[in-house]
Symmetry: C2
Subunit: 331 residues, 2 copies
DNA sequence: TTGAAAGCGCTAACAA
DNA sequence: TTGTTAGCGCTTTCAA
């Protein structure tokens, strides 16, 4: 059995209250007591039990982060930025992916019950579940999700940069742009489409909906395009993975990118750099880090008014020659 | 204040023990009691406090995962695989990155104190800290780390596939191979180098050490090569990010890859596909998932003998024409 | 400066 | 089937 505060107390010949004091604030006990306790704790290899401590303190010193089905580089980066700041603030991070789980709302409630607050990404949790969390007094920050007036939100700028992207595409001669991705999937995507339309000027914008935001969906979209034999001047995709899948399939189908058609993504994941993909860079780590800070303010009760933040994004224009890739696999 | 079990009990007109029973196993109370309790809980919007529950049960229903400075796609994938299985097993996941923190050992001990068991990746934690965890009875699985006889370990196969890689490179005419990466950084890397040497046949293998495993280190290695003007026949890099950074810099310096020199990586991250990089695929998700299962066995006490697992890896040969990429950025 | 004692919210004997 | 009660390991009044 692990030693408890009682073991340390009896070994040091003091009360458990004194052990507690000596360990959490050595100043407030006598020097002698302090060293007796320290020695006893050392010898017993004593580590305070967090559950007991937290139960008494009525706090968890832990934050949760909830992210959706979509895995991929974007979420990984956000989580890393979040963890870094949380650790700095002395908080552990509890991870929850709602990927393909029906019981998302229940799981999130459960997570809330073991943390001091939650960051919720994207469309992982229905609005009513969020409101019920708020009613329960759970500090909450929404990340990349439609802001709700009374709940903190953090987003990356979409519309403005999407306009810039549209301007870039039309300047490159695109008179017909196809947006790939479903604006109903997330507010981020809807905003990107809106910005694109707003910035397209005389160019036409049509929408090809995809069920997911992954490479596979991009590939299937590409298959359809190749089969139809009809190309727009540019594809503006809702994210990089979609764009990369699309581009690959187009090239495999004999379409030259960017000579025959332009393709752009969104996020600027690592693969986008190596694929020479024009895209929009989101400050992914910074999103995670900022969310952690906002949540901390809420948890400490330093703020009661909701904050709504938008971080800047950046258009990244890349030009690459067509590259052909072959793959062989051997175990 | 959040309602407690006592609030529910008094509202339902039963004892707290009955509430506890009704909520955790509805079968064992009378139908009538069950519905009274359910109703009261519902009306109060009662959610059991995990701390109280866990303190009484003496378990956390949470696992930790510790990963090193190296972020990047590899770790993200492992974590996702881990979380998926942990959630399936009814456990939450606590995340800890030791990235650039001196107090790693202390943080890991702290994490251990709030979880039922830990998966430790790579060289994040010194051996003595691991042994002290074992002494404390913390269930432990080492992932991508030198196995210690008495502790569970899980690794991806290195030597054999590295031999296959060497065979591929020499078959392609490489008589001089430079290994890029520091075998002292991790046992994985050391094994890759050993396998490469073992499979190189008559080819010579030299080693260029890099301080990190990231793109920046690869670029700096590339700069040095370009400056020296001397090329081996092939660069076998310790991981993909290194290889991608190196390849980019070589190409920028006028070296044609793969015409002038072959470059290979390790991991098969997404960017490797788009860069046309020859590499070795690791089952990253599966590593995370398997680690979670092994840890669960330990936590449940289903097994006392340590298990040492090695998952298969796969050589992925890609051929790509040189592609030139230009980047412009606009905010 | 220290100790005694009352909880924090819950589970699990044990009794009824 | 239900209630009583004694903890789980810790913090924190309140007294001494």
């Amino acid at each position: 059995m692990r030693p408890t505060i009682r073991d340390v107390a009896s070994k040091a010949g003091v009360s458990i209250a004194t052990v507690s004091r000596a360990l959490r604030d050595p100043q407030i006990v006598s020097k002698e007591t302090q060293s007796k306790v320290a020695l006893a704790a050392q010898e017993l290899d004593y580590v305070p039990n967090h559950l007991g401590r937290q139960l008494a303190e009525r706090r968890h010193a832990a934050n949760g982060i909830v992210f959706p089905d979509l895995s991929g580089p974007y979420f990984a980066e956000v989580v890393l930025g979040y963890e870094a700041v949380a650790a700095e603030l002395g908080r552990s991070v509890l991870l929850l992916s709602t990927r393909g789980r029906e019981s998302a709302a229940a799981m999130v409630h459960d997570l809330a019950a073991r943390t001091d607050g939650l960051v919720v990404l994207g469309r992982t949790v229905p609005d009513d579940a969020l409101h019920s969390l708020v009613r329960r007094g759970v500090p909450l920050v929404l990340l990349a999700r439609t802001p709700l007036a009374e709940i903190d939100s953090l987003n990356a700028e979409n519309r403005q940069t999407a306009r810039a992207l549209a301007a870039h595409l039309t300047a490159a001669g695109a008179g017909a742009i196809t947006f790939v991705g479903d604006p109903d999937l997330s507010p981020d995507i809807a905003e990107r489409l809106e910005g694109l339309e707003a910035g397209a000027g005389g160019a036409t914008v049509t929408v090809t909906r995809t069920p997911e935001l992954d490479e596979g969906s991009g590939q299937r979209a590409g298959d359809a395009v190749v089969a139809s034999g009809r190309l727009p001047d540019a594809f503006a995709c809702a994210n990089d993975e979609l764009a990369l899948g699309l581009m690959t399939t187009l090239r495999a189908g004999g379409v030259r990118v960017p000579d025959d058609v332009l393709v752009s993504g969104w996020d600027d994941v690592m693969a986008a750099r190596y694929a020479g993909l024009t895209t929009v860079r989101q400050p992914m780590r910074d999103l995670g880090a900022t969310a952690a800070r906002m949540l901390d303010e809420l948890i400490r009760g330093q703020r009661t008014e909701p904050r709504h933040e938008v971080l800047a994004t950046e258009l990244i224009i890349r030009t690459s020659t067509t590259s052909t890739t072959g793959t062989t696999s051997t175990t």
